[in-house]
C-alpha cells in the first residue's frame, strides 16, 4: 500500500466510521479496490473496525476512564465549550445503573424473563424476527415490565412505567385546557382537534417512514397511515385506543424516555415536540376520529359561510370568496384591508390577466369610469385580450417543461413551438380545462383527431431527450416514461409520483406497482429512445400555416377519396380487363413498357456493332485501355466489362447535349434506372454501376451503388452526408459472379420512402441510411457507367442492358425488364391456367397503361399530391405523440427503478386511493385523461384552481402546489379550496370564469399596504387579510420594460427568437457539433417580442430569465422560486434589453409635444407607474435628472456610449446628451420597487 492509497483509505474510513454520510457508490468501489489489492490495507482496515468495536463495547474500560477523569479534574469533560454541558452527572448515574450497551441490556433482561418476552424483542427490534416469532406469548409486555419495575425500585429510580404514568397524567391532565396551535391553523377554543389539519401532519412527519405505506420498509408490521392499522389489535393492545390516551401504545411510545422504547427512535433524529404530543393525546381523548387525507376525499361544495348578507367587523360580504376568507380571519387578530385604490387595482389586474401593465390612458379611463360595473367591464376586456392567453401559457409552459432544444448531450434544436402556440390559443379560446387536459395528454387518440388536437399532444413530447452514442435505449425509454408520469402526476394531481418509482411511497398511499401501472399509459408510444439530433424527431406532424389548414384538411380527405375510387375502379375494370387480357399481344408490351420515356439504354437501337463503330466519332465516348466490350451467350444484349486497375471509364455517348438534358434529374423528378449487373468475386468497398455524381462538389448527384458486393441501392445527394438520401437493401442480396437485374425507381418525393429497389424483378426491403434531402441534386457533369466522376470504380464488374427512364416504373414493369419473357409467358398461358401472380401482374399493367378511367384518376390524384407538396413546403414540423398500433399498453415494475431490472409485467391502471376508472373508459392515455377530468377525481380541479390562485396571490391556498399528498401543506382555506374546485367543475371547467370569479372578489381587490403589526402576525399573507404583493416574474419584467418603452413587437406565435444575451454562453456548454453551439442573435423585430417567444435552450436558458428565477425547463415546475439577489438588480439596470428600453422610454417622453421638464417627468411617471407623481417624488426625480445631465450634457462621447446600447437606431432629432440623461432617469424609474413588484 503506497502512501497515496493509505491517504485515500484513511479518508474513506474516516467518512464511513464517522457515520454521518454514507459512502457514495464510487467511494465504496474505491474502498473495495484498495482492500482487494493490498493485504496491508485489509489489516489496517480491520484494525480500525476492531478498534471501533472495542471502543464501542468495552464499557467497563471506558467507564473507568470517565470516572478517573472526573475524579482527576472535575469538569474536565465540560472543559471543552459545550461538550456534555450540564448533563454528565445525571447520565453517568444512569449509565452506572444500567451498565452496558442497549442491546445486550435487552438480551440479558430477556434471559431472566424467559423466552416469553421474545415477542417484545421481535416487536421493537424491527427486522423480521422470524427466528423467534413463533414463541411469542400472549401479553409479554406486561410480564416483562413487572419484572423491570421490581428491579428498578430496588435502585430507587423511577421505573419508565412510572415515569410514563406521571408524564401521561401531566399531558392528559392539561391537554383539554391548554389548546395548542398547529401549523398556521390555530385550534380555536372549543373547537375539536381536526385529524387532517392537526394530527396527520404529525403522524406523517414522525411515523410514516417506518409505519406507513411502504410495505418493504414497514417496521413491526404496524402501519398508522390507515384507520385499520392504527386501531388494529396488536395482541391485547393497540396503537390507538379511542378515548383512552393512557391505553394507547402510540402515546406510550411517544412519551417514553428510554432510547429502546421511545418513538420515533433516536436514530431517526426526529423529536416530537411537547405541543405535538399534547395534540396527539387530545385527539385520542376526543375520540380519535379518523379521516382520510383531505386531498383524496371527494370535492364537496361547501356552504358559503353566512353569504350573502354576513356582516363581519362592519364589512358586508358580497362575494363567496370573501365569505370564506373573512370567516378565516376570526381569532387571528387580523382584519381585512380596505380596497386598493383604483389605479393600483387597474395595474394589478391588468398585469395578472395579460402579463403587461395598463397604459396611462386605460388607467385614467377606469379611474374616471363611474359605472357601477366599471371593474367588471375592465376584467371582461382584459379576459378577451389575446395577451391573456400568452400570459397564462407562460405559466403552463413551466409545468409542461417546454423548451426549444432536446436537452441531453448535443442539446440540438427541437421543433415543437406549434404546441406552444396551441397553448396560447387554447387559453384565448377559453378551451374548457377538461378538454385542454384530454387534448394534451391524448389528442391523438380522439376519434377523427384534428390537426390541432394532434399538435396538443406535444405536451408529452416536451421532455428532455438524448441521442448520445452508447446510451442504452431501454434506459432512456424508461427515463422518458418516468418523466411523463411525474409531469402528469405533478401537473394534474399534485402527487409526487417520482417517490414511487423505486419503492412504495413513504408517505402517500401509492405503491410502486401503481406507479408502473400509471407508467403503462405513457409507454405505449412510438417515440424512439434517440432523437437523432433532429429537430423533427419522430413521431412528428406537418403543420401548415393557419391559412392553409382548411385546405390541408380537405386535401387529406380528397386524396383518401381518390384512393377509394381507385380501389373501386380496380374492381369495376375487371370485365374490360378480362376482355383485354384475352386478346392482348406480346408486341404491345414491348412498345409500352420498354419504350415509354426510356431516356437511355446501353447499346440500344444501334446494336453492338454500331457502338463499336461509333466510338471514333463521338466524344467523349472513349473506350479506354482495359475496357472490354464483349458478347456473352447468357445475355442477349452487349456486355460491358470494367477491367484493369482503374481509370477505365465510359461516359454515355450519342447526342451529348440531348442526353445530358434528358438525364438532368432533380429531387422533385421521378425517374428509374438499373440493368443487368454481375458483381465480381471478393469485391470490397463500394462502387457505382451508373452515376451522375460530382465528387468534387459534395457528391452532388445520383447513382446506383453496390456495397461490399453484398447490398445495392442508390444515393440522391445535394450535399453528402447532411443533405442526402441513401437507401440500401436491408439484407445481403447480391451473389457475386451471377448476372442479376438491379433496378431502382424514385417518385420525386424527396424522401427515402420514395425509393424502391428491385432485384430480378422482385421488390426488396430497404433501409434508409440517410433521409434528409431538401436541396437540388442536379449536376451538369457527364453520366458515367462503372464509376462516379472520379472514383468508386466498379473494377471487375460487368453490366448489360442498363436503362434509364424518365418516370417511375411500376413493379410489374420492372418485372418485365428482368424477365423479358414475363408477359409473353403469361399470355402464352391459357387464361384459366394463369397463376394469381400472373393475373395480378397483368391487371396491374392493364390499369397502369391501358385503362382510361384509371389514368384520369391518377392524373387527378397527381394534381392533389402536387398541391399537397406545395403546402408542405410552406409548413413547419411539430413533435407529437402517437400510440403504438395494435399493442396494449403495459409496463414492468422495475426493481428499485432500475431499467435493467424489470419485474412483474403490469397493465395500465390508476392508484387505488383515487376513484376507479369507469368501465366505459378505454385503458389508454385517452381513458386516463378522461378519468382525470371526470369530475369525480378529487385532485384535478383542486390542484388546478390552486395553481391559478397562486398565479394571482403569489402563494396557493395549498402552499406546496406541487404536492397535495400527506407531506404537502394542508390548505390555508380548506373550504374555499373546495368551493373553488366545485365552482370550476360545475362551470364546465371554465378557466376565464374562474379567473373572473377570483379577481372580482374583495379579497383580491384589497390594498396590499400592511401595518407592521399585521405583517408580524402573517408575513406571508396566508390569511389573506391584505391584497397580493410580490415581485413580478422574469418574463413579465422584461415584457413590461419593452411595453412601456413602446418597443414591444406583439406578433403572436412562430419559432423561438433570440434576443440579446452575452456572447459565448452557448459555446461554453455545447458540444462543438451541436446546432445550438453558436448563438446568433436575431435582428430587428425579433429582439422585441414577448418573452414567451424567446428561444429556450435547455442547457443554457436565457440568462436574464434564469437570474430572475425562471426554471431551466428540464422538468415540470409548478411553483417558481422567488428570490431577491443583487444580480437581479444588475440585470435590470445593465442588460442591453433593459437599457435600450430605457432609451426608448426617454425618447417617447422627449418627443411628446408641449411639455416642460417637469411635465415630461410626470409623463414618464404615468407611463411607468400609471399614476401621477407626488410632489416629493417629482423633486427627487428632478434632482436625479440634474445629476445625469451634469454627467452627460458636456460629454458627448460618454453619452453616445450609453445611447448606442441596443440594435435599434439612435434618434437623430434628439440631443445625445439630453437623451442619455433622460435615459438614465428612465432606467431608474424602471427599477423602482413599485415597478418591479405587483402591488
Amino acid at each position: 500500500m503506497n502512501e497515496e492509497m493509505q491517504k485515500e483509505l484513511e479518508k474513506l474510513l474516516e467518512k464511513q466510521l464517522g457515520g454521518e454520510e454514507a459512502l457514495s457508490g464510487e467511494e465504496a468501489g474505491r474502498l473495495n479496490e484498495i482492500l482487494e489489492g493490498s493485504e496491508e490495507a485489509r489489516a489496517w482496515y480491520v484494525g480500525h473496525c476492531g478498534m471501533e468495536g472495542m471502543l464501542l463495547e468495552e464499557d467497563g474500560m471506558m467507564k473507568a476512564l470517565a470516572e478517573e477523569m472526573g475524579a482527576e479534574e472535575d469538569g474536565k469533560v465540560v472543559a471543552m465549550p459545550g461538550v456534555g454541558e450540564g448533563r454528565r452527572e445525571e447520565e453517568e448515574e444512569e449509565e452506572m445503573v444500567l451498565g452496558w450497551g442497549g442491546l445486550i441490556r435487552v438480551v440479558a433482561a430477556c434471559l431472566v424473563i424467559g423466552l416469553a418476552a421474545w415477542g417484545l424483542l421481535a416487536g421493537i427490534g424491527g427486522g423480521e424476527g422470524e427466528d423467534v416469532r413463533g414463541e411469542v406469548a400472549a401479553t409479554p409486555r406486561v410480564e416483562g415490565e413487572e419484572e423491570v419495575e421490581v428491579e428498578e425500585e430496588e435502585e430507587e429510580v423511577l421505573s419508565p412505567e412510572e415515569a410514563y404514568r406521571l408524564k401521561m397524567l401531566a399531558v392528559v391532565g392539561t391537554g383539554s385546557m391548554d389548546r395548542p396551535p398547529t401549523g398556521f391553523e390555530a385550534v380555536a377554543d372549543g373547537e375539536a382537534v381536526d385529524f387532517n389539519r392537526d394530527i396527520r401532519p404529525i403522524l406523517s412527519e414522525y411515523c410514516f417512514h417506518c409505519h406507513g405505506p411502504d410495505a418493504a420498509d414497514r417496521k413491526a408490521d404496524l402501519r398508522v397511515d390507515t384507520e385499520e392499522g392504527i386501531f388494529a389489535d396488536l395482541g391485547g393492545y393497540a396503537a390507538v385506543v379511542a378515548g383512552k390516551p393512557e391505553e394507547s401504545e402510540l402515546m406510550y411510545r411517544v412519551l417514553h424516555e428510554d432510547a429502546d422504547e421511545v418513538m420515533p427512535p433516536p436514530k431517526s433524529n426526529k423529536v416530537i415536540s411537547a405541543r405535538e404530543k399534547k395534540l396527539l393525546s387530545r385527539w385520542i381523548e376526543e375520540g380519535a376520529e379518523w379521516r382520510d387525507h383531505w386531498a383524496f376525499e371527494p370535492v364537496e361544495r361547501p356552504q358559503t359561510p353566512g353569504h350573502p348578507s354576513l356582516l363581519v367587523n362592519g364589512y358586508r360580504i358580497k362575494h363567496p370568496i370573501d365569505a370564506f376568507t373573512r370567516a378565516r380571519l376570526k381569532g387571528t387578530g387580523l382584519t381585512g384591508a380596505p380596497p386598493a385604490d383604483r389605479a393600483t387595482l387597474a395595474r394589478r389586474v391588468t398585469l395578472d390577466l395579460t402579463g403587461l401593465p395598463p397604459t396611462p390612458e386605460e388607467v385614467q379611463a377606469f379611474v374616471s369610469d363611474e359605472r357601477e360595473d366599471a371593474y367588471g367591464q375592465l376584467v371582461d376586456r382584459l379576459l378577451e385580450s389575446p395577451r391573456f392567453g400568452e400570459h397564462r401559457a407562460r405559466y403552463w409552459l413551466d409545468a409542461a417543461r417546454y423548451a426549444d432544444t432536446h436537452g441531453f448531450h448535443f442539446d440540438n434544436s427541437r421543433s415543437v413551438w406549434p404546441y406552444r402556440d396551441w397553448v396560447v390559443n387554447a387559453f384565448n379560446a377559453n378551451m374548457p380545462f377538461d378538454q385542454f387536459t384530454i387534448e394534451q395528454l391524448a389528442g391523438d387518440l380522439l376519434p377523427d383527431a384534428t390537426l390541432e388536437q394532434k399538435i396538443a399532444t406535444g405536451f408529452n413530447r416536451c421532455n428532455p431527450t438524448t441521442n448520445e452514442g452508447g446510451v442504452i435505449n431501454e434506459e432512456y425509454l424508461s427515463i422518458y416514461a418516468k418523466d411523463r408520469v411525474e409531469t402528469t402526476g405533478t401537473v394534474f394531481m399534485g402527487l409526487t409520483m417520482n417517490c414511487t418509482s423505486c419503492h412504495d411511497h413513504k408517505f402517500d398511499p401509492l405503491t410502486q406497482k401503481e406507479y408502473y401501472e400509471m407508467e403503462a399509459f405513457f409507454r405505449n408510444t412510438t417515440q424512439p429512445a434517440r432523437d437523432g439530433n433532429k429537430p423533427d424527431s419522430p413521431p412528428n406532424l406537418i403543420v401548415p400555416p393557419v391559412e392553409d389548414r382548411p385546405r390541408w384538411a380537405e386535401l387529406a380527405k380528397e386524396l383518401a377519396a381518390y384512393d377509394g375510387r381507385m380501389v373501386k375502379r380496380e374492381k369495376a375494370a375487371l370485365p374490360e380487363f378480362e376482355k383485354w387480357a384475352a386478346s392482348a399481344k406480346p408486341g404491345d408490351f414491348e412498345k409500352r413498357v420498354k419504350a415509354a420515356e426510356l431516356v437511355y439504354q446501353l447499346g440500344a437501337g444501334e446494336g453492338r456493332e454500331s457502338i463499336n463503330a461509333a466510338v471514333p466519332d463521338q466524344e467523349p465516348v472513349v473506350l479506354a485501355k482495359g475496357l472490354v466490350w464483349k458478347e456473352e451467350a447468357e445475355r442477349p444484349e452487349a456486355v460491358l466489362r470494367f477491367d484493369g486497375e482503374g481509370g477505365q471509364k465510359i461516359s454515355l455517348g450519342r447526342d451529348r447535349d440531348e442526353l445530358s438534358k434528358a438525364l438532368a434529374f432533380d429531387k422533385g423528378d421521378s425517374f428509374s434506372y438499373g440493368g443487368w449487373v454481375k458483381v465480381p468475386e471478393g469485391m470490397k468497398g463500394g462502387a457505382a454501376v451508373l452515376a451522375r455524381m460530382d465528387e468534387n462538389n459534395s457528391h452532388k448527384g445520383w447513382d446506383l451503388w453496390v456495397e461490399n458486393g453484398k447490398k445495392f441501392g442508390v444515393h440522391l445527394i445535394a450535399s453528402w452526408p447532411k443533405n442526402s438520401i441513401k437507401v440500401l437493401t436491408k439484407t445481403d442480396v447480391l451473389k457475386p459472379g451471377e448476372w442479376m437485374h438491379l433496378f431502382a425507381t424514385y417518385d420525386g418525393s424527396g424522401k427515402a420512402s420514395g425509393v424502391t429497389l428491385y432485384l430480378n424483378g422482385e421488390r426488396k426491403a430497404t433501409a434508409a441510411a440517410s433521409d434528409k434531402l431538401s436541396e437540388s441534386i442536379r449536376v451538369t457533369i457527364p453520366v458515367w457507367l462503372g464509376q462516379r466522376s472520379r472514383k468508386a470504380i466498379f473494377t471487375g464488374g460487368e453490366v448489360s442492358d442498363v436503362r434509364v427512364y424518365g418516370r417511375k416504373l411500376s413493379g410489374v414493369e420492372v418485372a418485365a425488364l428482368a424477365d423479358s419473357a414475363h408477359f409473353e409467358t403469361i399470355l402464352a398461358t391459357a387464361p384459366e391456367e394463369r397463376t394469381k401472380r400472373q393475373i395480378d401482374d397483368l391487371l396491374e399493367y392493364y390499369l397502369e397503361t391501358t385503362d382510361k378511367p384509371m389514368a384520369d384518376l391518377r392524373r387527378g390524384k397527381g394534381k392533389l399530391t402536387a398541391e399537397k407538396r406545395e403546402i408542405q413546403d410552406r409548413s413547419v414540423i411539430t413533435l407529437v405523440t402517437e400510440e403504438k398500433e395494435g399493442e396494449e399498453p403495459f409496463s414492468h415494475i422495475l426493481n428499485r427503478g432500475e431499467y435493467d431490472q424489470p419485474g412483474e409485467k403490469v397493465g395500465p391502471g390508476v392508484p387505488e386511493v383515487l376513484p376507479p376508472m369507469g368501465d366505459e373508459l378505454p385503458r389508454n392515455r385517452l381513458g386516463f385523461a378522461q378519468w382525470l377530468v371526470s369530475g369525480e377525481h378529487p385532485l384535478t380541479a383542486r390542484v388546478t384552481v390552486n395553481r391559478y390562485w397562486q398565479e394571482l396571490f403569489g402563494t396557493g391556498l395549498v402552499k406546496s402546489s406541487e404536492d397535495f399528498g400527506v407531506m404537502g401543506e394542508p390548505p390555508s382555506h380548506p373550504k374555499l379550496m373546495d368551493w373553488l374546485a366545485a365552482e370550476f367543475v360545475e362551470s364546465g371547467w371554465d378557466v376565464k370564469h374562474l379567473f373572473r370569479t377570483m379577481v372580482t372578489s374583495d379579497t383580491y381587490k384589497q390594498s396590499s399596504v400592511v401595518s407592521e403589526e399585521a405583517y408580524g402576525i402573517d408575513p406571508e399573507n396566508r390569511f389573506l387579510a391584505r391584497g397580493p404583493r410580490f415581485r413580478l416574474d422574469a418574463e413579465t419584467l422584461r415584457d413590461q420594460a419593452l411595453y412601456v418603452s413602446g418597443l414591444m413587437v406583439e406578433t403572436m406565435g412562430g419559432p423561438g427568437v433570440r434576443p440579446y444575451q452575452p456572447a459565448g454562453l452557448w459555446k461554453v456548454v455545447a458540444y462543438p457539433k451541436s446546432d445550438t453551439a453558436n448563438f446568433v442573435q436575431d435582428e430587428g423585430d425579433k429582439l422585441y417580442r414577448r418573452t414567451l417567444y424567446t428561444f429556450w435552450k435547455r442547457t443554457s436558458p436565457p440568462p436574464s430569465m434564469s437570474i430572475l428565477d425562471a426554471p431551466e425547463r428540464e422538468s415540470c415546475i409548478v411553483r417558481r422560486e422567488r428570490t431577491n439577489t443583487p444580480l437581479q438588480a444588475l440585470v435590470m439596470m445593465n442588460d442591453p434589453q433593459f437599457v435600450e428600453a430605457a432609451r426608448h422610454l426617454a425618447t417617447r417622453v422627449l418627443r411628446e409635444e408641449g411639455l416642460e421638464r417637469s411635465g415630461r417627468i410626470d409623463r414618464m411617471g404615468w407611463i411607468v407607474l400609471q399614476r401621477g407623481l407626488s410632489e416629493r417624488e417629482r423633486v427627487v426625480l428632478e434632482e436625479s435628472l440634474g445629476i445625469f445631465e451634469d454627467v452627460y450634457l458636456g460629454d458627448e462621447a460618454e453619452a453616445r456610449g450609453l445611447v448606442e446600447v441596443g440594435d435599434s437606431a439612435v434618434p437623430e432629432d434628439l440631443d445625445v446628451g439630453e437623451l442619455a440623461a433622460w435615459m438614465m432617469l428612465a432606467n431608474q424609474m424602471l427599477n423602482l420597487d413599485e415597478v418591479v413588484n405587483k402591488n
Binding site: N32, E36, M54, M80, P81, E95, C110, G127, N269
Partner: protein, 178 residues
Amino acid sequence: MALTRKTPEHSEDQAFTDLMRAHQGRLRGYVLSMMGGDHAAADDVLQETNLVLVKKADQFEAGTSFMAWASRVAFFEVMRARRKMSRDRLVLGDGILDAVAAEVEEQGDRYEARSKALAHCLRKLGDRQRVMVLERYYHGKSVADLAAETGQRANAVSQLLFRARQALMDCVSQAVSG
C-alpha cells in the same frame, strides 16, 4: 429496563451472558469489518447475531472457543443481511468478504492483550481527543451531536476521532508486539 442480577437459578445463563458480554467488542469489530464500516448495518447485524446466540445458547459447548462459534453465527447473519440489503447499500463486494473475515480472525487472537493495552493507551491520549472519545463511545453521541455541541463541522469531528483511533491503534500495536 433492568440489569440482570446474579441469582443461583440463573448461574448457567449468567455464565453465557458473561461470555457474550465479553465478546461484544470482538463481535462488533467483526461485523463492522464485514459490513464495510457501515454502523447502521452493523448494528442490525450484531443485534440479529445476539438474538441467535441467545436462542442457541444451549448449543454452545462450554470450554470451546466462544468467538469461533459466535463468529460463525455472525458470518451467517452478515450474509443474510447482505441478501436483504439493496446492492447499492452494500459497501464490500462479494469477492472480498473471505479475505476480510480471515484478517479479522488473525487479529482476533490477540484481543485480550489489545484490550488491556487499550485501557492504558486511552490514558495517553491528549485531553481533547480523550474527551471526544468518551463522548462518542461512552456517552454514545453521534458525530453530528458532537459537531453541534462543539461548534465544529461534522467532518472535523470525524477527523479528530479518526486520529484518536489511529493513535490508539498505534499505541496498542506497539504495546502488544513490544
